[in-house]
Symmetry: D2
Subunit: 352 residues, 4 copies
């Protein structure tokens, strides 16, 4: 057994940071050697600095690690950092790590739309890591930044990829019913959401309309040309702990029956390079036949929270196909996504 | 003061039946003289037969009325019946009342799509009551049946009417986040909906795709030709007590700015014949400018639960306009809607 | 009609501050002339500084008032201030207002246990305002501070008062199921309370064990001797928007039947001096006979949110009587309580 | 490896029935050979008859088993039946199985208070199975009935046992905040519990006041004399999916500090005969030190849902000790409890 790669977690005390720690407990390839946090937490043991809100206990190995500032010098000997930093901090700090020869797998939105930064789902576009070489050259970095998409884009993009590969997707309507954990912690006040829905999430619709296009885009040398798909998104917050639901209506290049669509989803395979990674599901899309599924509480943990769950396939009177997608927003859509990306880099020998 | 019209409530013990009683407490035009229920309730006083679930106390006048079978002979001297019957019972029983010279204002879906039965929103298509004459002739009835639409169609149709009148609506995407009271009582088990969303409501999408077209259609003699609008609907249940939210993307006959759209909604007036009825709002659409409204808990009671609340106006990348509509599903979308229809019939001298 | 007393609200942007504004809309005796807030809000119009979270719209008169610092000089010409300040600020600032000849009716806990400060429920101990004279003399104030109890103590104390007057209360077990609004806004994160209960509220049990004893105590000249009652409290947070429930088991000086207890509660009258105030209910306790009431969502607004609702009367195997009490925590238990206290002072000619 | 004991599940389609199936998936000692249900389900495959509501998928082996009537003849070759029957059916049917030489481990309340029927928690009173011999003799049965307590009594009794053994418990106040799954499926309508609490559960308080006394009682020959403890219970329903919380105040034979109490709970060991069973936790009580734990969502799955979780230890002003207990109501408190009882019978060679 090779020794595990020393890994730091940036922004370890927040909700996504906690998921990183939960998911890296006993990870075969990565070993957490450094946790960073804000100035209020620095110097405290993690067990004291962090208000742990997950439903499994905090791993013992994390409890006594001392929180460091988010600085390349403090995460030694980490070669990889997983970033749960807020967007503005990510913009300022992640480049410092990349410059210092660290691989940054980031959940933040800061660099997702930079032309030389991969926006990556290993089930969808593992070849986009080819941008890394250009990124290093262009920016003079020894390390690099790789990003995963917004939690709402994640499941939708995996589902669209299957359709796009086999038929071609032209236009998409996407309306989300998003879980509370997407807003972090403390996040949405309970007074705002019990017996209620909030029909607005800052900046979210723009991301859902943009990010899938980059991931479904074609790589030409140092560039990704976005897929020629138009997306219209409405995003809503609902009183659900975890698991984002998206109602999608899709125009394809030609009509398919719901049986054909189900087959396309079921048979879609994770690209070979990504298929046997520790976080991978070889068949990343689960299709449910029950008329009232997927449901977030009941189905979010399918495939250990890494599955894209599709249901309610039916014809659309305006476009071609209607369906519902569910994806666990803080596992597949956040911490699990960044880890999966890091695994891909290892597999591609871009991280050692 | 004229004396009030004696009125019966069919299916008075259910959730919509309870709303009828709540809304008719002190109604200036209608006086409840008969309550009907299923065989399990018949013969019992209402206060005993009904598990009252509303948040205001049961009116005293209702408490001791004895539940009757749903039969024209038992509601004497009622001239009007408001029907909260389940669809299948409505199909069987409502014609018996119409035949017996009673006006039936029904919340049931049974007759909504019959060519000679008005599907009626007084803010939208009061002129469709002209179908009543044909209905009576065709069916040999002295009374008549008038219906109000499905709760999810209601708010959406009022909003579309404003746009359709001033610009013309061509295509509509509509995704609902629907309250629990839409499923009646006991309705959705709590085990199914706490920390959850159910992405399916039996028969609902079909209604939302069909009903607005009839209400927005043109009356030609004895016929209504449906408006040439195509609608695609996804309907979802969320953990909200009352108030249906619909996210809509609309293709118009030409582009409008969001300011123009806001003005169109704000200025839309209830047709003159319906404007001064007890349940009317002269300006039926309230536009909210806050970025995160309307919200069901906070806005459902605007206009005493009779308003159509519109917010989040913004351009749509695929069609022209995106917005969110909220409407109280058991007031405007059910019991309040049937009562408002009955008021319109009085105003038009079709009910005396 | 006498002119209304100019009134300031301290801490007007928070949840209790908002309730003050909602309840003072059209109040016959008090007119809001000043709103204060934290340094972040000072100088802004209320409509902009305040994230309004109540379910009725913000009154227009409040929208454009400019937020002032919480300083006696800025609330001129107010003669009364209603305080929704956090406890520590209340301790520092309220005396400045009392010194400056203002009457302070405070919802804060800071001064509740001071021997010369009335802890006041007009239904229970209006005579305790006699402490004010001693307070002014002792502290050299022209104005004064009067407090209302903690929201959980409120309903419990009203119920205990009825029993104590007619039978005598010796020992009390009290377990609360408290609403989210008791924690203010943003208060409890939704991630902590959906599908959950939090069995702890900082400082709350101590208050519930102490405050009722002072209010039920006897006034002897300048002192109140606490009632010789021992109380044991457990306090819990539950996913309810408004309305605190308390399960109580009470040892009395002798046994009563549940019928006798119901009669005692039903017949308990607000003392004459407090009975006709604008916020008063002449019979402050509502007894529900249904086996599963009171319930917070359905019964919290009884008596306009000012009632103490008692139900589930039954014998207790250890003590004498078990029952459940419900009281609206931000109306009767907070803003409405401070206002009611101010009304009592007017009635007693202690505020003019 | 010995071959597994063929086992039937009575009432397999309900919520507790589903938990039986979930927990028996891969059970080392028991193999499910028969599933029974009501006449509506009989003859259908389980996958079709059952509306599966748990958050892990239905095991494949259950999906195609055909539902049988609840009759000893139909569960052949089962030697053990686990009963999730409603109380009235249990009263009628369970004796037929016991008569037919089957061991019945029942979750129903029907026989819990019969003098010759063990009311059993393997952590608490495994020696009470000695009643079985008397039961068989008295009733002329070859098989037997063994029961587990009500879900709310379960955790409370385990906690009281630790205190009773080491100090002696005299009086107990117990107020529950109970999860929705305790009411089965469909159970509590969502309209009754969102933003609400129901302060009443039919028949529950009586059980909590009675059952712990039998389990903590001493066995004398063919009789159990109930422990001389008086319990007063208030039971409430709250919007929580799984996990019952009980707030307890306890009078002991003498005062202990909270540190001593914590030690007593932590050191309490499952009796040796029950300690190594598949469902056992050697130390059945987990003590949490955090001020706001245990919480149902976060802690109910500790010890695979079989732990009794205790927290908030503190002195009680009336009695001696206050604390909060959490126990998973459909695992430890229902299906898991019946299975654990069956395991104990195997260990004691009362079931082979």
């Amino acid at each position: 057994m090779r020794s595990r790669i020393p890994t730091g977690i940036l922004g370890a005390t927040g909700l996504v940071g906690q998921r990183f720690i939960q998911l890296l407990d006993n990870h075969p390839w990565f070993e957490v050697v450094a946790l960073t946090g804000s100035y209020r937490s620095v110097g405290k043991p993690y067990g004291e600095a962090c208000r742990w809100v997950l439903d499994t206990p905090m791993p013992d190995w994390a409890r006594n690690q001392i929180i460091q500032p988010s600085d390349p010098g403090t995460v030694t000997p980490a070669r990889l950092v997983l970033s749960a930093l807020p967007s503005q901090q990510a913009r300022d700090l992640e480049p410092l790590f990349a410059q210092a020869n660290l691989t940054v797998c980031s959940n933040a939105s800061a660099f997702r739309q930079e032309a030389d930064v991969p926006l990556l789902l290993p089930e969808v576009n593992p070849e986009h890591t080819a941008l890394i070489g250009y990124q290093q050259k262009l920016r003079g970095w020894d390390g690099c930044i790789v990003t995963n998409p917004n939690c709402t884009s994640t499941g939708l993009t995996v589902a669209l990829k299957a359709l796009h590969d086999s038929i071609g997707v032209v236009r998409v309507f996407a309306v989300s019913l998003q879980a509370l954990s997407g807003a972090g912690y403390p996040g949405v006040p309970s007074a705002d959401i019990i017996d209620n829905v909030i029909p607005f999430i800052e900046g979210e619709e723009e991301k859902v309309e943009l990010e899938p296009r980059k991931m479904l885009g074609k790589l030409h040398g140092s560039e990704v040309s976005p897929a020629p798909i138009t997306i219209s998104a409405h995003t809503n917050r609902v009183p659900v702990i975890d698991g984002h639901v998206v109602c999608a209506s899709v125009e394809l290049s030609h009509l398919v029956t719901k049986q054909e669509a189900a087959e396309i989803f079921r048979e879609y395979q994770t690209p070979e390079i990504s298929r046997c990674l520790p976080s991978a599901l070889p068949l990343p899309i689960i299709v449910m036949d029950e008329s009232d599924r997927p449901q977030p509480r009941r189905d979010r943990m399918l495939g250990r929270g890494m599955a894209t769950v599709v249901g309610r396939l039916r014809p659309d009177p305006l476009f071609h196909l209607k369906f519902t997608v569910l994806s666990h927003n803080t596992i597949r859509g956040a911490a699990g996504g960044s880890i999966y990306n890091a695994e891909l880099l290892v597999q591609q020998e871009l991280l050692q």
